[in-house]
Every structure is written in C-alpha cells, then in structure tokens.
C-alpha cells in the first residue's frame, strides 16, 4: 500500500480535540503519524497532497443511505452509490436493508461488503430487524452482527407491534447492536403523500400527520424505559417533527440511550418546498411545517441531535416523472450534505466548524460503534476528507456520481468543496477544478 503525506492543511479532528495546522502521514491504510505543520518530510515513494489552505478532517460517515443493491441496480449500485459518497467526502456509509431481497440474512450482509461490489468507500450494512421486514419474527442478531451488520432496522416498514419492538430492542441489546426505527405509525398515513396541513389541503393531497411520527417515537421511548437495561440503544432515524425531538430530548434527560439523526432536507426545507407537486421534494418522513423545521435547527444547534444523515434514496428519473401521489419517496443526499451543512449550519447559523464535522463523523461513528472511524488519531483508519472551506459552488444534479438525479437541491449554492477523499489510505475521489 502506498504512503500518503497530507501537508500544510488545517487538521480538524473533533474526537481528538485537534484544530490546528498539522501534517498527516497515512501508511498501510492507517493514520501513521501526526506532526506540526512542516515537520514531516516525504521519503521516496510517498505521495504528497498539498493541503495548504484546506481543511483536513476525518472522512464523513453517513449512517442512513439506500444503495439499492441487491435487487434494484437500475436505481443505484453499491459502486455508484459509494462513488457519490466519495465525491461528497464520505468514507463510510451504513446501508439500509430495504433491498430486494430484504437484507435479513448473514449471506446478503456479506454479499453487500464483498470486494466484487466495487465500493469506493466502506459499506456497513444495517440488517433487517425482522424476517423480511414484515414486523413479526425477530432475526438472529448475533449471526447478522458477525456477518458485519452494525445495527438493525425495518426502516420503511416501522415495527408497529409493541411486543415485537420490545423483543427487538432486548435482543439487539444482548449482542450490542443499535435498533434504528423509522418512526411512522403507518395506520395514520395510508394514501398520504406529504405533510398534513394547509399546504396539503390546498394541493388536494392526503397528509401524513406529525402525530404519526411523534407517537411512535414516544411509544418506543416508553419501551426503552420499561426494559431497564442500559445496553438498550434506540436510534430515531430522520427525525422531522417538533414532538419527536422533544421526546428524544426528554429521554436523554432521563438518562436513556436514545439518539437521533436529522437529514439536511429536514433542517432546510418545509412543506412549501413541495411547490406545485415537485416529486423531488417528496420523501418519507415528508417535509414538515416551518415550526418543525425550526425545531430541527434548534436541536442541532443545542446538541440534542447526534448525527446528520442524508437518507440518500436514489430513484430512476422515470420513476419520479409521474403523478405526485404515485411517485416513490426519497431524494439523493450524499453529494450535497457537506456543502449544505457548511453553507447553512456553519456560515448562516454559526455552528462551529468542529461541531459540524463532528455531526458528520465522530458522533455517527460513536453512535454505531464504528471503531477507528470518525477520527484521525494515530492508528485510526486512514479515512480522510480534505476540502476547501471557502469555495462556493452550485451543485448540478446532472453531474452527480450517483445513478440518480432526484434531488431538490439542484442548482443550490454550496459552501466548501471536497478536494480529495481518502478511504483506508486510497485516494477515492479527486476534485478536478
């Protein structure tokens, strides 16, 4: 393996408490040495990256992506999805199990991580909590974990049955896995395609009430409370309602191990962005009211949110060019996350850069227990994102590395541009200016 020297950059490693000019030496896929700027000299055969004026940060970690393989390679493949991840500065992605077949087996879990998939960055499968994600029979979590699964979830098919969710939480805790819930009481959202409220009424669309999300988060927290087991970890996926955030905040005060993530679209956009039936603004959970969106921003700024996750959900163009009610849910997110977070969370809302990067690396790594990731401490994986924090640019969906172009952020102004992405010591993305 080659040796890489990153020279002259500003190293920001929140987990290690570092924010200053440093040289970083990567060797054999690991961080070999960190030294004051200018101290490290390249020896023969060392590739040198000049990071003058750039930020050197731990590679970003997205704990909520849909890579569509196995089964729906026409939407995205593990190769194209991870290429998009690399372009966005991500070096680890956690892939949801709503594939075809559903990833509820050690075989599929291993298949997703096999070298033949051609992944640019590390893929961590999240396995289905129940057989076929049908919400009835809890899977063998020990076997899934040893195959490489880092958490369990039934993502788009939330576990509604209380006894099954209780058993899932307890069984996952026994083997040290997190349970991720897409909180939606689907009994309240039948036939609905956007947030319930005045905009949905005016557009003549059936609405998904915020209670559908909030009530299931509250129910799950109650189950965690009742289990009285410190190993139980509930993670709330793509939190989008004021009430859900309030419930998580309270659970934390009560000392429970309950975490949550927020997607960029939920802290930036509202139901107004659906416009006139823009299917690229259709996702689940839907874009909510301004009050909900503002609650997401507040919760990020005051530290209740543990991770920014994109819910990258690629779809073929023709699948989105249909009637709004019939169009599938989801938008892509891997290539816009950093640019939006820096543009809005950092520049506009003054969240310190170190905290933005922590939400995109150290915290998600800690949340899923990804050892040696999310930091550039010596000995860690050589996962690095090197970016120009001052660069302003406009994202063009048609230039995306993803197979899919379904994003509401086409043409949006971004802050901060990735120059290089390094995954386990290999340069997997180089920005060509």
């Amino acid at each position: 393996m080659t040796t890489l020297l990153i020279r002259g950059g500003q190293l920001i490693d929140p987990a290690a408490g570092v924010d200053g000019p440093r040289d970083v030496l990567l060797k054999d896929g690991r961080v070999a040495e960190i030294a004051a700027a200018g101290k490290l000299k390249p020896i023969e055969g060392t590739q040198v990256l000049d990071a003058t004026g750039l930020i050197v940060a731990p590679g970003l970690i997205d704990i909520h992506v849909h890579l569509r393989e196995p089964g729906q390679g026409y939407k995205e493949t593990i190769a194209t999805g991870t290429a998009a991840a690399a372009a966005g500065g991500f070096t680890s992605v956690a892939a949801m199990p709503n594939t075809i077949p559903v990833n509820d087996s050690p075989e599929t879990t291993r298949w997703m991580q096999a070298p033949e998939r051609g992944a640019s960055v590390r893929v961590f499968p999240i396995a289905a909590a129940t057989r076929g994600s049908k919400g009835d029979t809890v899977n063998d979590f020990a076997a899934l974990k040893s195959a490489g699964a880092v958490a369990v979830t039934d993502d788009g098919h939330p576990i509604l049955k209380e006894n099954v969710m209780r058993e899932t939480l307890a069984a996952a805790a026994r083997v040290g896995l997190s349970v991720i819930q897409h909180a939606e009481d689907t009994r309240l959202t039948q036939g609905a395609s956007m947030n319930a409220g005045p905009v949905a009424f005016k557009l003549g669309l059936r609405g998904m009430p915020t209670e559908a999300e909030t009530s299931l988060v509250e129910r799950d927290i109650r189950l965690v409370t009742d289990l009285r087991d410190a190993r139980v970890h509930l993670h709330v996926a793509h939190t989008s309602t004021l009430g859900a955030i309030a419930a998580v905040r309270q659970a934390r005060r009560n000392g429970l191990r309950v975490t949550c993530e927020v997607a960029p679209h939920h802290f930036l956009l509202t139901e107004e962005h659906v416009g006139l039936y823009n299917t690229n603004a259709k996702m689940n959970p839907p874009l909510r009211s301004a009050a909900d969106r503002d609650a997401m921003i507040e919760a990020i700024l005051d530290g209740v949110v543990d991770a920014i996750a994109t819910d990258h959900a690629p779809h073929a163009t023709h699948e989105k060019e249909i009637e709004f009610e019939r169009a599938p849910n989801g938008i892509t997110g891997l290539e816009t996350a950093l640019g939006l977070c820096l543009r809005w969370l950092h520049r506009e809302w003054k969240l310190p850069l170190g905290r933005v990067l922590s939400l995109l690396s150290a915290q998600p790594a800690a949340l899923l227990g990804l050892k040696g990731r999310g930091t550039l401490a010596v000995g860690s994986y050589a996962d690095v994102a090197i970016f120009d924090p001052k660069a302003e640019w406009a994202f063009q969906a048609k230039e995306s590395k993803s197979k899919a172009k379904n994003t509401p952020f086409d043409g949006w102004a971004m802050q901060g541009q990735i120059r290089w992405t390094i995954s386990e010591g290999r340069v997997v993305y180089t920005h060509i200016a």
Partner: protein, 341 residues
Amino acid sequence: MNATAPAARRQLHTPEPPVSPFPYNPGSLLSVEHLSLEEVSHLLARATVLENEDPLVRNRILAKRRVALLFYESSTRTRTSFELAAKSLGADTTLVSNLSSSIEKGESLKDTGLTLRALGAEAIILRHNSSGASWLLEESTHLPVLNAGDGMHEHPTQALLDLRTLLAHLLPGTEKVHAKTLAGVTVTIVGDILHSRVARSNMLLLPRLGARVLLCGPTQLLPDLAVNAGPGIAIERNFEAALAQSQGIMMLRIQAERLAGLQIDLEGYKATYQLTGERLRTHAPSALVLHPGPIIRGLELTAGVADGPQSAILEQVRHGVAIRMAVVERALTIEKKGARA
C-alpha cells in the same frame, strides 16, 4: 416575556420557498390562481360573444385545429361540454380515455402526453384522478393544458362557469369584473369540501372578486385548516346559519370514490346538511342553488330542490359550454411572450 415560555428562538434566515415555473404555456389553464381578473373578464366577455355568434362564423375561429381530450376519469358534463365547445369553434377533437388506450397497458401520463403532441395535438384537456396531474402534463409537453379536474385539487373551468351563473342572476350583464364586483355577496359551499376540486377552485376565485365564501360541513369532510387556503374564506358549521347569510349555495356530492376508508354516517349527514325545500324556504328563500353535478337526489339535496325555482343546476351546464369555448379559444390563440410561430 413570560418566564415559563421557552427561550425565544433565534431569528434565523432559512432557504426561500421555490418560485413557481408554471404555467409554461400562456394558453394553459391549470389553476384559477393563474388568471388575472382582467383575464377572467376577457373570458366572460368572450363566452358571451361566442355563445351568440353565428355557428357558421364561429366554427372558423379554430378551424381544423387539433384538440385532445385526455380523460382518466369518467365524466358527462365536463367532457361533453369541452368537446362541444372545441367543435363549435371548428377544432378537430379526439378523445383518449384510460379505458380504451395504451394507458391501460401502463403508459405513463408523460408518455401519453408526448404521444398526443407527436400526433399533432395543439392543446390537451385533461381530467385525471391525481391531484397535480395537469402540472405534470404541462411540464412534460409545454402544450396548453386545460385542467378539467385534477384529483381533489382544482377544476378551474367549473369555477368560471359557476361565476358566470352567479353573475347572471345577481348582477345581470356584468362581464368586466374587479376586486369589488361581488362585495357583499356570500356564497356557501356545502358538504364534502375535503375531496372537492370544485370547492377549491371556487374558494380561490370568488373572494378575489370580493365575495365571502362560507364553508359548511362536518369536520370529517371539512377540516378546520381549510380556512387557510386563501383570503375571504370562513367556516360555518351550522347549515341553517350559513344558509341565512347566503346569496349563493353550492351543494356538493359526497365523493364515495375518494373517501379512502372514511366512514360517513349518511343518515346523520342528511339530517344535518341535506338541502331540503323546507330549509331553503325558511333560511334562504331567494338564494341561488348551484351544484356542479353529478347530483345524487335524496342525498345532498332533495329532488324538489334540484328541480325547484331556485335551482340553477342545468343553467350551470349551459354556461359550461360558453365558458369552455372561451377557454379553448384562449388556449389556441393567446400569444406566446417572445415566441414566434
């Protein structure tokens, strides 16, 4: 500041909502919101001119122009009146319905629209069961698209013909309308507001002419947030109280096909909201009764009211042909800004 209130939220600048690119084609009529009051006046005036025109002169206006009617839902009034309107202006029309076309084989709305355009259609009249379908079709084809009802969303030509009907009775001879034309007029829309595109188009159009729109119905079919759809809209759940304030009463059918599992107690509904001769005589003896059809006699209104002297239901149908002539004419003759041929 109340000490127990949560800390005042920082005033944050957030991304602006998008600017609508619609309509792509100036001849389109997707929503009543796209029409200025000058355009409404123009359509009303043209409706009268075209209605009174010699049929042999009239059918030269759009001679041999091609208009497609694309219908994904059954329809009697709207389809027939659009067809008669286009034909009486001399246009060739073709009807494509979801039951006898490649739509049955799974062709998408976009592809069907592109196919019609390739066949030479110069405008498409669309009736569809999904809200927003007309927007999708217009974006896909850039042809003039006339929205003949999209799901639960809008039915702009119905609102225009309802306006023409109201004006004919309340202010005969009025064609030029402005923001105060209907000042002092209250129109009550009764029944299944939630699922009604007719209600939405009317509640967005009539207040712009100064009318007050009262919405009346049970919460299941009329959520409180309906008042936020636009200015000049209020809810009055007491039917008799609403009737007593109204010069126009618009009755709606319960849309069984769109209830999506909602259970409606029909006997209870009739007891509270059915327009009976007795109710009409007692509370609104001179109000005009409208209904977009199809009517269900004995449910939302009694047969006696439907056929009675205050009923304008069949008159509405007649106004529909005139309004649709004006709308089809506009679609094919309006000048594209900056465009040539």
